[in-house]
Symmetry: C2
Subunit: 120 residues, 2 copies
Amino acid sequence: MVSSPVNDCGPRDVYSAACPCRDMLDLLANKWSALALGALQDGPRRFGAIRSRLEGISPKVLTHTLRRLEDHGLVNRTVYPAVPLHVEYELTDLGRDACAPLALLRTWVEDNIHRFPVAS
Amino acid sequence: MVSSPVNDCGPRDVYSAACPCRDMLDLLANKWSALALGALQDGPRRFGAIRSRLEGISPKVLTHTLRRLEDHGLVNRTVYPAVPLHVEYELTDLGRDACAPLALLRTWVEDNIHRFPVAS
DNA sequence: GGATCCTAGTTCCCGATGGGAACTACAATT
DNA sequence: AATTGTAGTTCCCATCGGGAACTAGGATCC
């Protein structure tokens, strides 16, 4: 039984600079990551669909965001070599699980935005 | 009855670029903000205490992070003009409430870090 | 009375990241 | 030959993040 390529860190503490948790928090605690994962919650979506859902994102930043999520095993990228080109992104099991705390954060912001002082 | 200085946005949608929710998500969905608010969960802390808890943060970035949180009503900053200088940061009610979803995110990362593929 | 210590920052510099606008590749369609 | 549509890439610039060093102001040490 070979070991899978997973992190076997000892401490598991986001407050420890050396722990890989820090990098994962950096990935997930990010505006575009939180929105992109949410956009994939209801099933696979194409690049263009995600782009219009994440109002205001530039294609460059979206590509970068999706690649990071893919590299960390949260999202799968599938290319259908049709014409015009068709690329689909979907959550992995890990990505689906990560959606729960991020969805809570998004809805907390929406539910409590009226409590924030106006920006000066 | 005058209106309090709060956001009275209509849509309340983090996916809308114009909604102030977007700015709040940008503030909270941030590595240092998430860690700093967590560091204040158990009561007021001094600058130096927060700095050592957030292992690896530079004083410049910590100052900037705390100022942003203060400007948005999540944290109060109190200066005790003793010698040596003594400055305390503590959560506001809003900041305390924001801690809940952020704490879930931090613990989700710690609990699931073993499932992430190792960084290549 | 000058040097040192303490906290809570600020300043400088530089590399990484984020954002807008324009450009690319590919092949089917007009 | 020109246009269309998708999924990007490239260029350039502004902002952000990070390390190292420096600052302020009074108390304490020698």
